[in-house]
Amino acid sequence: MENVGLGVVAWVTTARGWYEGEHMLRKKWAVACTVVAMSALAACGESGGDVASDPTTGASAGASAAGSGETFKIGVFGPEQIPQGEDVRDGALLAAKELNAKGEGPQVEIVFCDSEAKPEKAIACITKFAQQDKVQAISGGFSSAETLAILDTVKRAKLPYVSAGAAAPDVVKGVDSTGPGKYIFRIGPVNSLNLAADMCLTVTTKLTKEGFSKFGILHEDAAFALPLVEFLNACLPNPSAATKGAIPAAVKGVELVGTEKHTPAATDFSAQFKSLKDKGADFVIEVNSTQVGIQLGKQWATLKPGFALGGINVSGQSSAYFDVTKAVGELNGPAGIVRAAVSEKTIPFFDAFMAEYKRDPLYNGAATYDGIYALHEAAARAGALDADTLVTELEKTDRVGVSGVEKFNEQHDVIYSATDPKAGLSLLYFQYQADGSKKIVYPESLADGNTYQAPPGVTLP
């Protein structure tokens, strides 16, 4: 039985090589045909399972500890089936490749584990990292659900974890440099409350200047959006009070005419559009993180309901978004990243990512990339790979990353300097142009002379 099993494995491997250059579907058909046979033999493969090269490291970069000393093994997890997860993986692999090519400090080995966007699988990934792969640190993660789910396991495993996918404030809740949560860091995206504060500032200072006066909110009915929308509701009418003076008292509040929600699976927003339009909104702030944003943008662009649209639309950051939606004039930010000179690393990162993977990176691709760098730098500074030393060194992080100057606060949450516009990704807004290109319009320092243009069907005073 054992031999038969190995034979089939060998055959599939050959078959996969054979089909590599062929059309994707042909390969998939061939593979599909072997599924039944494989699963029947799967039980026999058990003993060989751990001996054979771990399939999850199939994509690892620079595995051999060439030259200097120990290999720094970092576990990275995310849902491989969706773009955010792919970017987590590829951002990490790109960082490892670059670091290993440079050859300074320890060699980096990435062990990727597919979390399938399920909390259950994510926890299993952490266990596997700790028990089987014996990694020295962890990064990645995609949604708040899976990131929050693994935190306890991370604390038990006592491995430094640099989170790179979840914006929920709870990720760093109760974290400090001495408690059991000290292993947890977040390098991106920015805490959703900070995002909200930034949106509030942009609306009250920039959009009012463009002539908008009545604002509505249309948000996904999701846990990540809830504190954000709550904050906006308090901040928009009264920015200075809500931000405890961070926004100066001279900035006036704006009129918020209504708040509407939609489910993460919605395909029809006409009821919400009508409600907001009837209330007189001339600018609608959108907040959504799933693919629902595509439908929203598309329907807004088609129906031209008479108000401008902008805000957080995560799918709106992807390369293919405009082709489907034709959402001319949609304002997108502040969670995204755009190929612009945010820091000296941003454009090189975009170009390297595009060269390697033929697509634009998303925010968590950049965050994981920065996360691997931050871990590596900490290890190089410390000259050791044990968890406690790494944590101490990570706390000292002060580096220029893709998203700006990155430091951790006492809660191990990433902060950007408030005074330096180039320091923070959170301050970046781009607008879709008629030709589909993305032009940064805020902040002006990065806008390169581009200005906000009213979308078709919207007239500004």
Partner: protein
Amino acid sequence: MDVLVQGALTSAVIALVALGFSLVYGVGGIVNLAHGSFFMIGAYSAYAMSETGAPLLVSAVVGVLAATLAGVLLERLVITPIRHQEVAVLIATLAVAILVQSGVQFFYGGLERQLPGFVSGAVTVFGVTLQQTRVLAGLVALVTIVTVLLVLTRTPTGRMVRAVAQDEEASRLIGVRPERVTLYVLAIGAGLAGLAGVLTAPYGVLTPTMWLLPLTQAFAIVILGGLGSIPGTVLASVVVGFLDRFVAFNVKDGDIKVGLVTVAVILATLVLRPQGFLGKVAR
């Protein structure tokens, strides 16, 4: 007005899915939990064709044919061997639905896909601005439903189908082969669901889990209208379609609550009148 126009369009499309589900139950006594998969197969096949550069009309036709073929295969390979075991049919067709989901995810990934529409842009009907793709889908669905109803009531084939639905044994006596009729009806029902998939794809999204919603919707409608009752199915589609839009437009955060309202209606119907609005006395 929004509710009326949108409700009508929504109703027509969901009736298209529910009709096939109801026919299959009426004729074969089969509750086919893979019915939503035909919807998905229709949408994805059309998408696959359009990706190869085929004209949209060809893609749409291929989508409908693929769903029909899937219906035939399901009947022959899975349902026929276990036809008289109600629970086994439920579970096996459910397994088929999951298998199809897994297959679609394998070939096209979990990512949402988009099928271009025959038309784009907006149109204003009775003062309501709508996406043209929605209007087209609603109209095509309406015409198809009327055609199917006419075929059922006015043609010999239709009468044969209704005879089997009423009394399988009696129809056997007058020379009808219920097995054959079941096959036809499953194929046609699958085709109708596939058509609905093709029609809604341009304004909906294609995902590997898109089969579940139309299935539960059709299921609910058919139970509301009475399992196996065609007029009941149409009536219930209208009720569900309008209810959906009414709640969405008139209740605060209606979009979120619409599902709960639907569940409440289903449960109330099941408890108070299990045979549905127009159904025969429960079997």
